[in-house]
Amino acid sequence: MTNGTAPDNALVLAAIEQVWGSMLFASADPWPADRPAEFGSGVQAQIELRGDWNGRLVLTCDRDVAAQIAGAMLGCGPEEVLPDLDVHDAVGEVLNVVGGSVKGALDGVSALGLPGVAPCTAPPAQGECMVVSWRDAPVYVQVVPDAAA
C-alpha cells in the first residue's frame, strides 16, 4: 500500500544530474520531446523503494547506450567491448546510486532494494517517463507506484 508522497520528477532529475556528472562525466540535459531516437534491443533496470511510499524507479535505454554508460563508468577506450554481464551491472549500479539519493531526500522511505536488470524490446511511451540525454541518445526514467504496477 502506498500512502506517502511519491518522489517528484525534480528530485529524481536532480539525482540523475548528480550521477551523470560524477560517475559518467556527462551532463544530463532534457531530451527534446520531438526528437526521434533509435531503439534496437534495450536494457531496463529497476529498483524498489519501500516505506510510506512504495514503488520503483525504472531506467530504460538502448543496449548500445548502456554499453557506452558502462564504458564511461569503467574508463574504457572507445573500442573496448564489455560483456552483457558488466553492462547490466553498470546500469543497475547507476540506478542504485540514483535510488540512494532519492531515498535520502524522501521522508518515510525506509528501504532500498537491490537493482534488477533485464533486456527489453521497447522504451516506455514518452508521456509516461522523464527522458534525459546521455551524450547523443535518450535515457528513459520512470517513477512507478505499486498501485500502477
Binding site: M73, D89, E93, V97, G99, G100, K103, G104, L114
Partner: protein
C-alpha cells in the same frame, strides 16, 4: 596493507579500486568479495587491515557483516561505501563500529579525507 573491497557490483568494486588509486592508495594490496557472506570468509582467510563495504548486498548486508565481525571479536577497521548516506544510516554505522561512511557518487577526495590518517 591489505584492503578488502566488498560490493555485489563488480563494476563498483572496480570503480572503488580505481578511486583508491587516484587517491594515492594504489600501492596497497586489494582483495574483493561479492557479498557480505564472502567478505566475512575473506576477513577470516585473508586478514585484511581495512574493509571497505557496500551496505545493500545479497546474502549478508554490510551492516550485518560489521555486526558479525564485532560480535566475533574482530576489530578490523571498517568503512562503508554505499549509495545511501542519510544521518540515520551514518549513526547506525558508527554505533556498530564503522570508522566512516562514504556515499556514492564519490570522488577521490572523499577517500583521501577518510583514509589519509590511517593509510598515509
Amino acid at each position: 596493507m591489505k584492503i578488502l573491497i566488498a560490493d555485489d557490483s563488480k563494476v563498483m568494486r572496480q570503480i572503488v579500486l580505481r578511486t583508491m588509486r587516484q587517491a594515492g592508495f594504489g600501492h596497497h594490496d586489494f582483495v574483493e568479495a561479492a557479498d557480505g557472506a564472502e567478505a566475512l570468509d575473506k576477513v577470516a582467510s585473508d586478514a585484511p587491515d581495512l574493509v571497505l563495504s557496500d551496505w545493500n548486498m545479497p546474502n549478508k548486508t554490510g551492516i550485518e557483516l560489521l555486526r558479525d565481525l564485532r560480535s566475533g571479536g574482530n576489530e578490523v577497521p571498517f568503512g562503508f561505501v554505499t549509495s545511501e548516506g542519510s544521518e540515520e544510516m551514518r549513526e547506525t554505522a558508527k554505533a556498530a563500529g564503522a570508522m566512516f561512511l562514504i556515499a556514492k557518487p564519490f570522488t577521490s577526495d572523499h577517500f583521501s579525507d577518510a583514509l589519509s590518517g590511517m593509510l598515509g
